[in-house]
């Protein structure tokens, strides 16, 4: 066992897949000689060579488009968005070209588009986004958002092996903040499409993912300590395809449910989860489904503003108390 960070887990996962499968290659801005803006790909160029670690111009559409073309020919590209905020520049290629390729034309497009996502890092409006909902709506794209070190590694490996296109939201707040012992020499895979019970409980379910898992766990500890209530935390891990069964299982146990995500509220994924619960498990609810999300604003820079706009552990505590009192 060796204690590694979330970032190191990602690195290991990609490294192992590149060793295992020579079809896997990386492309993106500043990923080779520089090792990436966050050093996720540090050392890859030296080990795997310029043919498999491709530094590109600042062209997100071309990066994703070229990845798709190479994937059609049997390769397994992993494209880095330097910050996931810039994935919007490739929105057309991802939603119109990549997402439809199998359906409309039977084209194999096993690509991974990954990048540092999310806020709580004082990154301002364009280095803090969590644009999951922008792609959630498009059939044909798998969306993955690991919260733990183990899942960072297990899911990047699963994403690279997956035969469908995967957008991989790695949370930059977690890059160096969390550590975990990972077994060495084990082929660690987290299956895409399976949620995880991050904390068992019986009074209330919180469905969440990515960095919000940690805020929620913090809240759950506080609620247990101060209120004596037991909160179950479901870490979705994969947003598409979503493990709705895991959500329903937990709800049938607790009968109260809160959905917490860091993305903005309107059109956010929590709305879809709430709709599915309403359609499939209405009779299991003892209280309305409630959401804890970011406010509907761009994400501001100043710490006071960012902390206000983004959901915090204290928000989860307050919302949980409201639901438990209902």
């Amino acid at each position: 066992m060796a204690e590694v960070t979330y970032l190191e887990a990602l690195r290991q996962g990609m490294w192992e897949e590149m060793v295992r499968d020579e079809r896997v290659f990386l492309l993106g801005e500043d990923i080779g000689a520089y090792g990436g803006a966050f050093k996720v790909t540090d050392g890859f160029l030296e080990r795997f060579g310029a043919n498999r670690v491709v530094d590109t111009p600042i062209s997100e559409a071309a990066i994703v488009g070229a990845a798709a073309g190479a994937a059609h020919m049997g390769l397994r590209p992993v494209a880095e968005m330097q910050f996931i905020d810039f994935i919007s520049c490739a929105y057309d290629i991802l939603t119109n070209y990549v997402a439809t390729a199998r359906y409309r034309a039977g084209l194999a497009t096993p690509i991974v588009v990954r990048g540092p996502s999310g806020g709580y890092v004082r990154g301002g409006p364009f280095h803090s986004q969590m644009p999951e909902a922008a792609f959630f709506h498009t059939p044909g794209l798998k969306l993955v958002a690991p919260a733990t070190v183990r899942d960072a590694k297990g899911l990047i490996k699963a994403a690279i092996r997956d035969d469908d296109p995967v957008i991989f939201f790695e949370h930059k707040f977690l890059y160096r903040r969390i550590k975990e012992d990972l077994p060495e020499g084990e082929d660690l895979i987290t299956p895409i499409g399976e949620a995880r019970v991050a904390r068992e409980g019986h009074d209330l379910t919180v469905v969440t993912w990515s960095a919000m898992v940690w805020k929620t766990l913090e809240a759950a500890d506080q609620l247990e300590r101060e209120d004596g209530v037991s909160v179950e935390v479901i870490d979705l891990r994969t947003l598409v395809p979503m493990d709705t069964d895991a959500v329903m299982r937990s709800l049938r146990k607790t009968n109260r449910i809160l959905i917490a995500h860091e993305d903005t509220r309107t059109g956010g994924i929590a709305g879809e989860i709430a709709a599915r619960i309403n359609e499939e498990a209405f009779e299991w609810l003892d209280a309305p489904i409630r959401r804890v999300t970011a406010h509907d604003t761009p994400l501001p820079y100043a710490p006071t503003l960012e902390d206000y706009v983004l959901p915090q552990a204290s928000d989860v505590v307050a919302a949980a108390r409201w639901l438990l009192a209902y």
Binding site: R52, A61, A62, A70, H72, R102, D164, E279
Partner: protein
Amino acid sequence: MTLAAGAPPIPAGLTHDDLRRIYYYLRLTRALETRLTNLYRQGKVIGGLYSSLGQEGESVASAFALERRDILSPLIRNLGSMLVKGARPVDVLRQYMAKAASPTAGREMNIHFNDLNLGYLGQISHLGDMVPVMAGIALSFRMRGEDRVGLVYVGDGATSTGTFHEGVNFAAVMRVPLVVMVEHNGYAYSTPTRRQAAVERLADKALAYGIPGITVDGNDVLAVYEVTKSAVERARSGGGVSLIEAVTYRRRGHAQHDDQRYQSPEEVARWETNDPVDRYLQRVTGAGWIGETDVAEIDAQVEVELDAAVADCEREPLPEPETALTGVFVRPATAPALWFRGLDG
């Protein structure tokens, strides 16, 4: 077929057989589109119909400059290039008529389909997007050390898009084996080229990418072949990307429903006298490279083939509705049918 006495040598290393085959594809393209027009008028084409009338020469000649192992990505008016690559007329008909047996099982329309084994990749409607995708295909050739070249077609309108710019620049920087064929046919839907780009020659755009830009008479079949052949050879030998501007003219509207009010009858008539198929025939028969009997044989062969193709697919069924749910992903293989479909009406 023996060389007619006193005939000049055939240019660009082409053989008599090549010239006959080029004529076959020109005729096949035009005749297939004529059949489609008739089917459209009979209401048998479900969606829009796009004609390449007057541009067949450029499509056929450029595709003919590729080897079998090379891959091209056509645009809506490059039916001819797909036929050269082995696309079957019956599949084109099935696509237009939305048949279950069409290459896309009724999911996509017209010539938006692909066969990477034969060497063509279907386009999407978002202009310019195929340039980065083809750059990636060409990148895969280079990464694997394969002796293959990519050819991507765009229209004059697509040169205004961001993906065109990103794709050409990306390919140029990477020096991948790619040829970019800019089909300059005068109009993007109703927008004339002078409203599309401020450069006189679209080939001048190549300058900004550090790649050669060549303008060629797109209605001169042998000239297009020669220029494309040399760009393909350049790409094959590691010389990187070339941009070719083929100047031609779109004699029909954007699609069959377009009344072409923005094109003057005089302008259209002028280009009718510059027809690429007529010009080709005059050239190859005038020089004695192909005989009148060859031409008649090919014309007859094409009609026989198309009779069979139309007969094959006309009575075929449309896809079963529930097949719409499969294949969004590899896993899960099927999207769930929605709850209200299980209810009594």
